[in-house]
């Protein structure tokens, strides 16, 4: 088993451009593409938090979707726990817990526990292991009190927590977190960051790829941070070099506590 939890080599992702009716008539078989990831290289150590920082449309979520096997890369390779996300997609998916950025990824009329039981079955947990694992993750995330309440009544913070609870169901080695604190108030976000460092990494030994817009989050949580822009990794390093790079190259004039 490789000591690297995630390896990305020369990864390129292109999406077809949506065409107007007139263009389709003029050239029905012509297809133009836009490059969203343009030769991305990354290596992430096991048991570390790796931040991916960048403006909207930089390609952060696309990279996460490729690592979670939702998207196919156009060129290059990506490995999770040593498994190729294309040729060994099933194994790669077993190693990953993907915490989506969408609060709509649950069934609104089902309770938290009914949602988790459904996703546990889809993740091949038998009913006995599912019951104990659901109780465990609800306990870890302090959601016991809301377990039987319909998801539609959850606050944003609780929705985010349930998203993470789902990602933890299979006890994956790698967690992909897409802006987990984006809808949280500052107090709840600070609690999240502590939980991420102390529990998920400190106690559970998870490797985390954290997509964020927040320099503060990158500073508090990440062992390493990469800055991505226009599909390329423009900088990779530790704090405070990341902060200096972002403020001088990406968002000149932005304070370190500000949101990138």
């Amino acid at each position: 088993m490789s000591s690297k939890a995630i390896v990305v080599r020369d990864l390129i992702k292109r999406f077809p451009l949506r065409r107007q009716w007139a263009e389709m008539v003029r050239g029905p078989f012509r297809q133009e593409w836009t490059t969203v990831l343009d030769g991305v290289n990354l290596e992430i150590e096991q048991g570390k938090v790796f931040g991916l920082l960048g403006p909207n449309g930089a390609g952060k979520t696309t990279l996460l979707k490729i690592l979670s096997t939702l998207l196919l890369p156009s060129e290059g390779q990506a490995f999770v726990n040593g498994y190729d996300v294309v040729s060994s997609s099933h194994r790669a998916r077993q190693a990953v817990g993907y915490c989506l950025d969408s609060e709509r990824s649950f069934y609104y009329r089902l309770s938290g526990i009914e949602n988790l039981a459904f996703f546990a079955a889809l993740n091949n947990l038998d009913s006995r292991s599912a019951t104990s694992r659901i109780a465990e993750v609800l306990n870890i995330l302090d959601l016991n009190g809301a377990a039987d309440v319909p998801f539609m009544t959850y606050s944003k913070g609780m929705q985010q927590k349930l998203g993470l609870a789902r990602a933890l169901l299979t006890d994956p080695a790698v967690l992909l977190l897409d802006e987990p604190t984006k809808s949280l108030d500052p107090g709840a976000a600070a609690g999240w960051r502590r939980f991420l460092r102390e529990t998920l990494v400190g106690k559970m030994g998870k490797t985390i790829l954290l997509v964020t817009h927040s320099l503060e989050e990158a500073r508090e949580c990440c062992d390493q941070t990469a800055v991505i822009g226009q599909g390329r990794i423009s900088f990779q390093g530790r704090w405070p070099e990341v902060d200096e790079f972002v403020r001088s190259h990406v968002f000149p004039g932005c304070s370190s506590a500000g949101v990138a």
Partner: protein, 267 residues
Amino acid sequence: MKKILAFLKRDFLIEVSYRFSFVFQLASVFLSVASYYFLARFIGRSFVPGLEPYGGDYFAFVLVGVALHEYLATSLDAFSRSIRESQVAGTLEALLSTQTSLPTIVFSSAAYPFLWTTFSVVLYFTLGIGVFGVPLAHGNWAGATLILMLAIVVFSGLGILSASFVMVFKRGSPLAWLLGGLSWLLGGVLYPVTVLPEWLQFVSLLLPITYAIEGMRAALLQAAPWSQLWQSLGPLLLFALVVLPLSLASFHYATRRTRITGTLAHY
């Protein structure tokens, strides 16, 4: 099986959470049967030569036609609707991030609609035989079951083809529209295909529902022997051999294409 049960439980819990809708769905089954019964009573007063080969009872005739059409409508709708609803609700990516393949997700998502249709059809027949006295009890039920299963396989193949279209183009599957409309018009649901003009009778031979309904009526209304049922089973088998591989290949293509284009969760 465990995954199918998980989907059934999910859909059942969601359905019963909309309490009035669930009750109305149940009530509509009774209303449908009753309306066909009164239509049959009205027609029953006059002699209809076209019904003679089917025993002359229009209620029994239409009950079989409507039951088969329910399965066709469910097949054409359930697979594509499962994808469309997951896209719109935002749950599709969460489903695909699990260790369950997309074909399993789509098949399992259709389990509840099929179960509901089966429940409705059983209720149609129970009411028909028990309350309205339809003479079906002495039919060739084994033959009817085989025809039904084969018909469901063919209809599901068509439904998966339709789902492939929805996956790529998101809305408005022309296949579901065309097949649904033509089958209702030409498949012999409410009247025998012999009442159609000759050229339309030829078109009806291209529709799987025509053979399914004809075979089912022969089995249930005439207690036809297996040798006679092969006239329906044969073409249905042929349809299954063509439609099923085609639909699975098209679904595989559609899935791969949306993973390349990044439009899996678009709607």
